[in-house]
């Protein structure tokens, strides 16, 4: 099930989406997780209206 295949971006087919495999790491504490809406720091992506 686990996918560890590394792929060069240049050989990727255009028009396809890629979701990098998530690792079990960077967990928020319980009180923070529920407020952030995710347990994983790496998935904490607040909506910034297209601005970085």
């Amino acid at each position: 099930m686990e996918c560890n295949k590394q792929m060069d971006v240049m050989v990727m087919v255009p028009g396809m989406c890629y979701v990098p495999w998530q690792r079990w790491a960077g967990l928020y504490n319980l009180d923070v997780a529920i407020l952030k809406g995710t347990l994983f720091e790496v998935l904490d992506k607040p909506f910034l209206g297209g601005c970085r």
Partner: protein
């Protein structure tokens, strides 16, 4: 004097109830997150360990809440001679 103590006890009980409920929400959320991760990573030992730990704490907190403040789930009802489900306030009914 007695009245003051009683007020303070009620106040403490209310705070405990709130604290345990918040804890249940937090643990339940973390449990769901671990479940979602495990759906795509079923053999991740750290995730399984985390799931087991959080599940235990979650069940513990739900049982404590049920013992002191009434059942949260219909399956928490343990009384034999009265249907406690309707006798205790609903969790969102924070009595003042």
């Amino acid at each position: 004097m007695n009245m003051n103590n009683e007020n303070r006890n009620n106040q403490n009980k209310k705070l405990d109830k709130r604290r345990i409920m918040v804890n249940i929400y937090q643990l339940g959320f973390a449990l769901n997150e671990a479940v979602l991760f495990l759906d795509t990573h079923p053999s991740d030992p750290e995730a399984i360990e985390y799931y087991n730990q959080i599940k235990e704490k979650y069940n513990e907190a739900v049982n404590i809440y049920a013992d002191y403040f009434g059942p949260l789930l219909a399956s928490n009802v343990t009384s034999e001679n009265y249907w406690m489900w309707v006798a205790t306030p609903m969790p969102w009914e924070l009595e003042d």
